[in-house]
């Protein structure tokens, strides 16, 4: 394989994750190993309770693995703490969740500006960049609306605008179309794959939807905390 010559953006080696202790201990991940290269689109696919979200949380540095190693752009992530950890989260990742997680009574613009506010970007630049992101998602006219008044599709577009406003290297999407009807879901999928193709943003989609998974370059099948199948499709 040619791509293996380059440092993968994420390298997972024998990662375990368990919850609880003693007799209540539950192993959600039982040793998973794989690489993700920059610019890939990956589907993590499996039944409910198989460990998909747990794996995504580990990859997004929201949760530390119980054992094993996780490298982000060649850096062992267990060495990251405090400020450097927060900076890695802020600069590298964008999130799209099934439940949107928009602040209901704030405007769409405020919601989209949040990651930049956390990053400490100046107010004027925040606004300009947030409007540009909303423009890109054809949501510019809704910038002043309260998030609570949007339709599902509009909410998910706002979430995507928020995810990409800080120019992330990786976008994590946990069941991004789970709360949308088929037509709207398809549009959101198109937007995500477009970002992946045109802007080279690595896309990691967590789903149990085979059709969505089929659109990805690679699918990681997970069952009971173990990787059962890793397919690399040669894209047409």
């Amino acid at each position: 394989m040619l791509v293996t010559m380059k440092t993968p953006i994420i390298r997972v080696k024998d990662v375990h994750k368990s919850y609880g202790r003693g007799p209540n201990r539950f192993d959600a991940l039982k040793g998973v190993t794989f690489d993700i290269n920059e610019g890939e689109s990956i589907a993590i696919i499996g039944k409910s309770g198989s460990g998909k979200s747990t794996l995504m949380h580990v990859l997004a540095l929201l949760d530390a693995p119980t054992s094993g190693s996780l490298e982000l752009e060649g850096v062992e992530t267990s060495t990251l703490h405090g400020k450097s950890l927060n900076q890695a989260r802020n600069k590298t990742f964008g999130f799209v969740f099934q439940q949107f997680f928009l602040t209901a009574n704030s405007s769409v613009l405020e919601n989209v500006m949040l990651p930049m506010k956390i990053a400490g970007v100046k107010r004027s630049e925040r606004k300009q960049r947030a409007l540009a992101a909303l423009e890109q998602l054809e949501m510019a006219d809704k910038a002043g609306n309260k998030a609570v008044n949007l339709s599902g599709g509009q909410k998910q577009r706002s979430v995507i605008a928020r995810a990409l406003v800080n120019n992330p290297r990786i976008i994590f999407a946990d069941e991004p179309t789970g709360n949308l009807d088929t037509a709207t879901g398809a549009v959101v999928e198109d937007i995500l794959f477009n970002l992946n193709r045109e802007h080279g943003i690595t896309l990691i989609v967590v789903t149990h939807d085979e059709e969505l998974a089929a659109r990805c370059d690679r699918r990681l099948y997970i069952r009971d905390g173990l990787l059962v199948n890793d397919t690399t499709e040669v894209a047409a």
């Binding site: 929201l62 990742f93 997680f101 602040t103 506010k117 956390i118 400490g120």
Partner: protein
Amino acid sequence: MKTLDLFTTAVANTFRSKTRTILTILAIFVGAFTLTITNGLGTGINQYIDDTVTSIGAEDVMTVTVTPDADSGFGGATSGPTEYDPEAVSSGGFGPNEGGTVVALTPELLDDLADVDGVLSVEATKSITPDWIQYGDGTQYVTSVGGLVAGQSVQLAAGEEPDATSDAFELDLPISYVEPLGFSDADAAVGETITIAITDAERTQHLVDATVVGVAEESVAAPGAGGLVVNAALTDSLYDTQNIGLPDDQLERYATASIRFDANATDADITALKDNLADAGFTGTTVADQLGTIKTVIDAIVLVLNAFAIIALLAASFGIVNTLFMSVQERTREIGLMKAMGMGGGKIFGLFSLEAVFIGFLGSAIGAGIGMLAGTAISSVLSGAVLADLPGLTLIAFDPLSITVIILVVMAIAFLAGTLPAARAAKADPVESLRYE
């Protein structure tokens, strides 16, 4: 997140749940309002006392009496009847032994007093007890008579102070006598002549005429103790009249004397002077001493009232704890998201404690503001009615420093109340917060 953004976000978050915030602010408001009023009361009364001391200009004057022997005087530890002392005279005016008898100041003792270190001049207080005063054929009224120690001044409602160097008999009338004596107002009294009746040692009554040159406001420490303020010529005349028929060895017996000391004396100097006086067998009291007791009592009352206000604030601070715990609960998802986006625990803590501090600020600023308005209104209503006899008294007064302190104290209490919920928010696990299904 930048500090300014942290601050504006906290302020914006405060108004997200308006009803809850307003109720919390209301609770703090009650405490801050009470604290403002009670403090204002202390400030107002003490300011009035200070003003009174300054306006009568008696900072460098001390009233001196002879210290009674512990075993021969009243108030001593010994019981049983007090032995007769031919040197004792009845004390008039106000001093530490008011209403009783004191050992008299003889000319020899006055000389001793003048020799005490730090005493610049000595003036015996001539105690004069007139029978009555009268204007024209009007009603006769009982009064007392006092003089001005050099440097003292009268708070005037009309006219001027009696001229100390004049040979004419001049006096200032207390304002409360103006209408009873038959004058239409203070200005009408100025320039009029009134009659003073005084009885001598042989029980003969004499009448002395004197001119009213001014009308004095009443105050808690008015010269002349709220009676007529007379000039030296009139004092001497009345005193001599009163002493007609007194045997020579009974003349020149004074209950108290006024001494003057260095006007620039520090508190330490005054204490040293009192010690010197005590060593020589005298007791010295300044006007500030006499009023100091009143101030101590007022301070104690204000302290007790403040304690109630603080209790109200503590109750309100539980309101803050509750409000913020509810916000943290409601915003779990948002906190988790902000953490996932790289916001540190310290900033999250700052966000919530700033919110608490801002709630505290709003409650205390509104409380102090309305407290000041209400206090000012109450003062002006009362000063026109119940307190009309005490001109210059603003019952509830405010100084910017104590208002600032009140606001800062409330904000500090709010901050402390906010730490618990803020710490819980800071510790929140983003994965737990963002979990669904």
